[in-house]
Symmetry: C2
Subunit: 280 residues, 2 copies
Amino acid sequence: MTAPQVVPDVGHAAGLARFSFNQATAKHWPLEEAVAGCVDAGVPGIGLWREPVGEYGAQRAARLVRAAGLTVTSLCRGGFFTADDWRTENLRAIEEAATLDCPVLVLVAGGLPPGSRDLDGARQRVADGIAELAPHAAAAGVTLAIEPLHPMFCADRCVIATLGQALDIAERFEPGTVGVVVDAYHVWWDDTVYHQIARAGDRIAAFQVCDWTTPLPEGVLLGRALPGEGCIDLRRLRRAVDAAGYTGPIEVEVFHADVWARPGREVLDASVRGYREHVL
Amino acid sequence: MTAPQVVPDVGHAAGLARFSFNQATAKHWPLEEAVAGCVDAGVPGIGLWREPVGEYGAQRAARLVRAAGLTVTSLCRGGFFTADDWRTENLRAIEEAATLDCPVLVLVAGGLPPGSRDLDGARQRVADGIAELAPHAAAAGVTLAIEPLHPMFCADRCVIATLGQALDIAERFEPGTVGVVVDAYHVWWDDTVYHQIARAGDRIAAFQVCDWTTPLPEGVLLGRALPGEGCIDLRRLRRAVDAAGYTGPIEVEVFHADVWARPGREVLDASVRGYREHVL
């Protein structure tokens, strides 16, 4: 008789059954410490990024997370279809998601190619790229999740700027193969967003939260705040994705230099607090 | 017999019949110099702002512009319906537009009230405010032109974030009373914008152009570039507003610290060049 495997008792901290901590929220927290921190805090899910996973090793990261009893809720990110190496990179990203038992690969479309003003052309490249990846994703059991980014990123990061636009592409494929990400930061301003969330239904592959504050910093990439520190009605969005039938994880994903400067555990605890008070 | 009044021969510089120079593009150029510069360059129209007009005196500005043979194409701006003094300020703005023989008062809606997460409520206040102003505008012969601002301004400046949303409000009124502004900078990213421009038809009260470059500066307010220096397909947008039936002025409106640091006449000439090469 072997001793029973010790699996940490995660997911039982009150109200945290759907909570997931995106590792980018505490960017400088080493993966092993982040995983241990999540277990200690009773957090059941973690969202991972390809760069730190690649540095740690995907197989090794998969073993680490699995041994801790955590679930990888999403892998960021594939996409960038307007870059030359998009095919190789995305096939690798699908493989990494499968290795991590991660059901969702987040796709950020990419911006306009340098010097281009052809927005329609760039958008067509995104749709074509997804069509090419879809069979590979289906074979790997990974959902490609199109993430519309806030329109302020349209030129340089993501030509898919609204949830409606993401759904226009996603709906050409099976729901389990291509879905969408609802990220509060990117969609909160849209007067059609509640309609589009209802339309999305079982296409919602991930739900991410953080908050919006002003003034935005230079480059606008690191302007996100912890839930509750800005003006987004996160609870209303959470209720809307719930009403659309989404029962999956809710990731707290924040990028901000001030947040990154704080100790990882402190950021995790603040994320849990913001989630409990402003999302649940 | 009196000597014939000398009216400068404006509007005849090749291709400039619809060109208008928004004075904010050369923010630090004194009004008298800007007017003289426009006349000298063969520019027929100028867009004015309430603050410099107020400093100069509205009546006096009206005489200055009229004597120069220029047309005031728009007055910026009314709106900010979420501020406490919106009613007084907007009635004053309508009066100023009438004084200037300016047919179009640009309305920027205003952001969320401090501490608020009630975006629907803020939007309702905008629609209610416009309904209250409409009879006054109609009586003064001024069109209230709702300007959707880029969604990155939704929290702090303008809860009206798309042309479609602006039209949803404008369509409750007579076209001559409430219209919309199509500003390339604010709408270029929108995958529905060409559909919305066609829908707008005779609601288009103003068309403004400038260009989009990255990285955006801190606060994102002064991130605009001269036409041709960024990634917006300005010619396609111009063709679309033309196809919708718009025959009015095309204003070059740029806010950028580097542009403001240059001599006014140099900025005007660069605006004319950008207009000829990338808009016409």
